[in-house]
């Protein structure tokens, strides 16, 4: 190894480099012969490629050069670059719905047009507007208006029919005309509009149309017994239509058409069985039993040796995919491929969630909230290619590069530079793919664990629960506070404070729920109110980070007792979040321990802990090199 001395003083210039899942951090320092350290600069950049692969070299070099520039030193004076031994951890995410609402025949319209017309409940036989003339007098009919009908013409046709004795009790429109038509009727009736597939409404069938007054939701069609009363259903049929009632709950308007062969099913999709092996046991748990049952089984199989999914099921496919990805990451050209069997899934986090899914058979793009389970799985292997990255960094920089220490230990080491922290100290590294905990006891013993699920799972939950379908928007919802644009000149923040602007806000954010990103307000494409989005965001963070913080700390705490910890330091990108540290601190408050966001070196906040820990470890033992002993 190189020990390029820097002049007569004998100080050595070293760079600690932490290659993480999403960011690569560097810490530049001078180490004096007596082991004292003076820090010169830090830098942070995006990790290039998958952590632990040769592609990391580019990002590592960028961070090193950045730190050198800030510290005002040249690359030629670097004695040693210290890299972290990354525990090869990758996490896979999958989400599977476990319920599905299917309407095999067109039996309901449950969408929420912004402006239905009239109000009340109308029950009658469906008749096309062109067939109104032949309707039997005294027989209640529901008029169905296809696309292309002008509101004046539709209203006139209905008025003529009513004048001729027809009893029109409600109307279903294709276009967005309900208020316009209702305003022109001699006898107003409930009207539901914006029914895209109006041609699929079966004619000659008994239908019920309900429109609630402004500010109210429907009462009859969202009630199973209301449906039973309207359609004179027996108990067996009532059981069959109860999913319809549930799907219509909360709407301001709805249509239910009773078709003889109509069949709505609400069934569980077999998701598969998760087989957990650990602690000398093999446990089997049905994924559709939900997150609580899965996590209970995971806790009983702790420490987990491996997890498998039943082949040919959703969960089987998901875990197989994580394994395959990991095998690819581990492959080195010119060496035998890593057998998939060598890759073990060491942790699983299951989270109950819901996915808004379009109801199959709906007529207006109805959406039902289906239950789902999200799984994060974490894989570890015995092989790492960090030595190869070190060799490449050495080549690229022209200085020695060695593996300076194991991530968990180094993170604790760096966290100790936070003012007010002492041993025993536990760190919680809130990352993108995994949540890591490490404990350094008073005696200097270090244990570390990695649990599955972190920032990326939060983003995924937000994305699917709000039906955003856009990872970037979901990331924004996760990272920035919300506000409601209340006029062209002011917004109300989620805490209720109001902020005014000199320049008018753009029309596309008017009256919208927005995230306040540094680039300005960005709309969240949802019909939900600010409170709903906020609650959902916080709940996603709680289900992942608070659950994982407690899970990980229990695994490192002496005797599994969180109370036995003294200092807990939060580190990592998600420790910069505007609410996650508070949520974890709240959850840890009952245990009587000190918990807060780290401030590495007194200046770096929760960043740079591993990189500075590497420098500290080097200073304490400057002749060490090569890979350190693996963490348990």
């Amino acid at each position: 190894m190189s020990t390029r001395d820097d002049g007569p003083t004998g100080t050595r210039l070293v760079v600690g480099v932490d290659i993480g899942n999403s960011t690569t951090e560097a810490c530049l320092a001078e180490v004096a012969p007596d082991g004292s350290v003076s820090y010169l600069g830090t830098d942070l950049t995006r990790t290039t490629g998958v952590k632990g692969t040769p592609a990391n070299t580019a990002g590592a070099l960028t961070a090193i050069r950045g730190a050198l520039a800030r510290g005002g030193r040249g690359a030629d004076r670097v004695a040693t670059v210290l890299l972290n031994e990354a525990t090869p951890v990758i996490s896979g995410l999958a989400m599977e719905t476990i319920t599905e609402t299917i309407i095999t025949e067109s039996t309901m319209i449950g969408h929420n047009p912004t402006t239905p017309g009239g109000e009340g409940l109308g029950v009658g036989t469906t008749v096309s507007i062109t067939g109104l003339g032949t309707a039997e007098p005294g027989q209640p009919v529901v008029c169905v208006v296809p696309p292309g009908w002008d509101f004046d013409d539709a209203a006139a046709a209905i008025n003529t029919a009513v004048a001729g004795g027809a009893e029109v009790v409600a109307a279903i429109l294709a276009g967005d005309d309900a208020v316009l038509v209702t305003n022109r009727l001699t006898r107003p009736v409930p009207v539901v509009d914006e029914v895209a597939a109006v041609e699929k409404v079966p004619l000659g069938m008994l239908a019920a149309v309900e429109v609630a007054p402004p500010g109210r939701t429907i009462r009859t069609l969202s009630n199973s017994y209301g449906l039973a009363t309207v359609f004179e259903l027996d108990p067996a049929q009532t059981r069959q239509v109860s999913p319809v009632a549930r799907a219509l709950t909360g709407n301001r308007s709805a249509v239910v058409v009773r078709t003889p062969s109509g069949d709505v099913t609400d069934r569980r999709i077999p998701v598969g069985e998760l087989v957990l092996r650990g602690a000398g046991k093999t446990l089997r748990v049905d994924v559709d039993a939900g997150a609580e049952a899965i996590m209970e089984a995971v806790a009983r199989a702790q420490p987990l040796d491996d997890a498998h999914g039943e082949p040919g099921t959703h969960v089987g496919g998901m875990l197989a995919q994580v394994r395959d990805t990991m095998a690819d990451v581990m492959d080195t050209p010119g060496q035998p491929a890593v057998p998939v069997s060598e890759i073990a899934i060491r942790d699983v986090l299951a989270v109950d969630t819901f996915v808004p899914a379009e109801v199959r058979g709906g007529l207006a793009g109805e959406v039902a909230l289906e239950n789902a389970v999200a799984l994060a799985a974490m894989v570890r292997t015995s092989r790492s290619r960090m030595q190869l990255v070190a060799d490449l960094v050495s080549e690229g920089l022209g200085a020695a590069a060695v593996i300076g220490g194991v991530e968990g230990e180094m993170a604790v080491n760096g966290a100790l530079t936070t003012p007010g922290v002492d041993r025993p100290v536990a760190v919680l590294d809130l990352g993108g793919g995994s949540t890591d905990a490490a404990l350094l006891t008073r005696e200097g013993e270090c244990t570390a664990v990695h649990v599955a699920g972190a920032g990326e799972l939060v983003t995924k939950l937000i994305d699917s629960e709000l039906a955003l379908g856009d990872r970037e928007v979901a990331e924004g919802v996760k990272r920035f506070p919300l506000a409601k644009v209340e006029s062209f000149f002011h917004v109300r923040h989620e805490d209720g404070t109001v902020q005014f602007f000199d320049q008018p806000l753009p029309p596309h954010v008017y009256a919208r729920v927005v995230v306040l990103s540094p680039e300005g307000p960005a709309p969240v494409p949802t019909r939900h109110g600010l409170d709903h989005v906020r609650r959902l965001r916080r709940e996603a963070k709680r289900r992942v980070f608070v659950v994982n913080a407690l899970r990980a700390l229990r695994q490192v705490a002496p005797g599994g007792n969180i109370r036995a910890l003294e200092f807990v330091v939060l580190l990592g990108g998600s420790a910069l979040d505007f609410e996650i540290p508070d949520m974890i601190a709240d959850a840890l408050a009952p245990y009587g321990i000190v918990c807060g966001t780290g401030n590495v070196l007194g200046t770096e906040g929760p960043r740079n802990a591993v990189a500075s820990g590497l420098v500290r470890a080097y200073a304490a033992e400057p002749v060490r090199s090569g890979p350190a002993a693996p963490v348990r």
Binding site: T115, V179, N183, F489, H508, A511, R512
Partner: protein
């Protein structure tokens, strides 16, 4: 002006030569949202945006819509500068877009997203 005597409404300023079909669709868009609209014959010489701006200044709801001789339309709000109309529409736009201009005007009043 004694605007407080008049019922609150979105004012639609119509150029004398404005196509009646355009005005009808614009008004239908406002009505469908449940907001009152009132058509006013405006003097010659203003663009759709200028008409909308003038209408917004006169409206008790601070929202105005302008329709020019060619059938181009614009929505304006009384507090916005003249060159910042929330929405504009070309003269050759299809009927649903004209309806949407009325809807946008009504939604500014109702403080609902314009999209």
């Amino acid at each position: 002006m004694s605007r407080t005597d008049e019922p609150p409404a979105v004012l639609v300023y119509r150029h004398p030569g404005a196509p009646p079909a355009v005005v009808r669709e614009v008004c239908a868009g406002v009505e469908e949202e449940g907001v009152p609209a009132e058509v006013v014959d405006a003097p010659d010489g203003l663009t759709a945006t200028g008409l909308a701006h003038a209408a917004a200044q006169a409206s008790r709801l601070e929202v105005g819509i302008g329709v020019d001789a060619a059938g181009a339309a614009a929505v304006h709000h009384g507090k916005l500068p003249l060159d910042h109309p929330p929405a504009t529409l070309g003269a050759d736009a299809p009927a649903p877009d004209r309806r949407r201009i009325g809807r946008t005007g009504a939604r500014v009043v109702k403080n609902l997203p314009l999209g």
